[in-house]
């Protein structure tokens, strides 16, 4: 399909998403809705990474850290709410209009601090440092014994409390995720088309020239990094609510790798690609073992993950433009 078909494709996709819970119900498996919620949540995280990676050229291997911050903000506040104890003198809460923005803001703050440090470097250094700092946050959360440490933290109080909306109902929560994904996607589309977006892409294509044109490149990269961190934080907030459980594994560097895979698998620098990539990755994760089991390939059923490695290598070597590239042709020659 030529790139012009992208909009109709997205609209069709949205209609499908809206109708999905009814389809799942009709197929007799309401659990599907929950799986798709998870896909939507990671799609938000992947889109946020695509913003800095695909458009800004920043290879961050620590993006899951901001996912984790958002998730833990929700879980920790819920813990104190359930427990009755105070956090820095303030009571815990599960009131979504307070907790959710707070999760996003704290993730953005973490991105600001870590980004300010990491962006002093570039190239190989940058990749290593983002990985190292993300791992630092991982160890930090592991060390928080009070909040479960390695074992993680259950949200016994359940999902956040949103006025007028019953988040504890899986279908309602699903629609909330759809709404946030659509909202975030539209926001990112606007950002990418704006003056800021053009500067970001200019930085990716030729950072040196941007500097010589008079752009303070560091500031723009940092701003993009913070926006991406906020997006990941949003995904983290939703993730904690989805599973009602958080653990430091959310921040483990392999999770950052997973989100990177989603972006590249789906199509880097397209915003739509990451949605496809999130779906493909999580569906593979969910159903590969089942497929191998059905085919009576027991060794592969237990070790289905062995497929991921070569798959990723092959994509990098031969199908760099991902699923998006396979679906949509770009018009004026290749990018």
């Amino acid at each position: 399909m030529p790139a012009a078909y992208e909009k109709p494709f997205l609209i069709a996709g949205l209609i499908l998403l809206i109708a999905f819970p009814y389809i799942a119900e009709a197929l007799g498996n309401a659990y599907f809705t929950s799986t798709v919620s998870r896909i939507l949540i990671f799609a938000i995280a992947a889109i946020s990474l695509d913003l800095i990676l695909g458009y800004g050229g920043m290879v961050s291997f620590g993006h899951a850290a901001y996912l984790g911050v958002g998730a833990y903000v929700v879980a920790i506040l819920s813990f104190h709410f359930y427990d009755g104890s105070a956090l820095f003198g303030l009571p815990g809460t599960e009131f979504a209009p307070i907790v959710w923005p707070l999760g996003v803001v704290l993730s953005a703050l973490a991105a600001l601090v870590l980004g300010a440090l990491c962006l002093r470097t570039s190239g190989i250094y940058f990749i290593m440092i983002t990985l190292a700092f993300a791992q630092m946050l991982f160890f930090f959360f592991v060390s928080l014994q009070r909040y479960g440490g390695d074992d993680g933290l259950f949200m016994f109080a359940g999902r956040s409390h949103m006025p007028f909306i019953d988040l504890d109902d899986d279908t309602t929560f699903y629609y909330v995720c759809v709404a946030f994904l659509v909202g975030f996607y539209v926001l990112c589309r606007a950002i990418v088309a704006s003056r800021f977006g053009r500067v970001l892409q200019g930085i990716r294509q030729n950072e040196r020239r941007m500097t010589m044109l008079g752009y303070p490149v560091y500031r723009y990269k940092l701003a993009a990094f913070v926006i991406a961190g906020a997006g990941a934080g949003l995904a983290g907030v939703l993730l904690a609510n989805h599973t009602k459980f958080v653990s430091p594994d959310i921040l483990h560097w392999t999770k950052s790798g997973d989100i990177l895979i989603m972006v590249i698998l789906g199509g880097i620098g397209t915003l739509t690609g990451p949605i496809l990539g999130s779906a493909a990755f999580l569906l593979l994760e969910e159903y590969l073992p089942v497929i191998f089991g059905d085919l009576s390939m027991d060794l592969l059923k237990d070790h289905w993950r062995i497929v991921f490695g070569p798959m990723l290598i092959l994509i990098v070597l031969f199908a760099r433009r991902g699923l998006y590239g396979m679906l949509f042709r770009r018009e004026n020659g290749d990018g």
């Binding site: 088309a193 003056r195 053009r198 294509q205 020239r209 010589m212 044109l213 008079g214 701003a223 004026n332």
Partner: protein
């Protein structure tokens, strides 16, 4: 009428290990003049431009621009003072269209870019500015083409346009005609000629025809220091220069 020169370089020095790329270099560029910098390969011309543009910090010396010591000023701030460079090896945005390349340059001097919501492609003000500059370098017909699809000569002209649209006071031109055929070179010489008086230029070039056609003054750089500086006629007849440089050119 001794005016302060627009650019005054005083005792600039830069070494890389044992190599003295810039060796106690002093030079003046008067406002409105086209000042050419010539010299054999390895004379340190690009190193000088890198120091003037702020990408390389000199070991010693001062750079005074419009009466202001800019030696320590960061590279990205200099274009806003009016000091703009173009690159010897074409440095454009290959994935953007020709128009977008120039529009992005122009965007730099039209306020900050922390605007996240309005589509920049629809900014007619920006597009008009870009189109005008594209016209002046003869690229208006190629405005919609992706920059990577342009020919080498067209890309060199785009390179120039991106610098011109910033309305520089001093333009540092690093071999703008590199790799151009005679027709294109002549065209660029015309473009630059028309700017004489409005834009001050420090021009590095190997193309001697262009140099003698454009330059008000020429400085000859050898091993990082100037060995002669003066009008084209004076340089042409200077024996030291002939030996060091023009002799090679005539043989080539």
């Amino acid at each position: 009428m001794a005016e302060t020169p627009l650019l005054r370089i005083e005792g600039l020095a830069k070494s890389f290990g044992a190599l003295r790329a810039t060796d106690d270099l002093s030079l003046d560029v008067a406002e409105g003049e086209i000042h050419a910098l010539i010299g054999p390969n390895g004379a340190g011309k690009t190193t000088l431009v890198n120091q003037l543009s702020g990408e390389l910090a000199p070991d010693a010396g001062r750079i005074v621009f419009d009466g202001r010591d800019i030696t320590r000023i960061r590279a990205h701030e200099r274009p806003h003072l009016g000091l703009v460079r173009s690159f010897q090896i074409t440095s454009i945005f290959p994935e953007f269209t020709t128009l977008e390349n120039v529009a992005l340059s122009a965007q730099s001097r039209t306020g900050h870019s922390f605007h996240f919501f309005w589509p920049v492609a629809g900014d007619e003000n920006l597009n008009d500015i870009a189109r005008q500059t594209l016209s002046s370098v003869g690229l208006e017909a190629d405005a919609g083409r992706p920059a990577h699809a342009l020919s080498h000569g067209q890309q060199r002209r785009l390179e120039l346009a991106m610098a011109l649209v910033l309305k520089p006071r001093l333009l540092l031109l690093d071999e703008p005609m590199a790799g151009m055929g005679p027709d294109e070179s002549a065209f660029v010489v015309d473009v630059l000629s028309n700017l004489r008086g409005t834009v001050t230029m420090l021009l590095i070039e190997h193309d001697m025809d262009a140099v003698f056609a454009l330059a008000d003054r020429i400085t000859v750089l050898v091993y990082g220091r100037p060995i002669a500086s003066g009008t084209p006629e004076a340089i042409r007849s200077d024996p030291a220069v002939r030996e060091a440089y023009l002799g090679d050119e005539e043989a080539a």
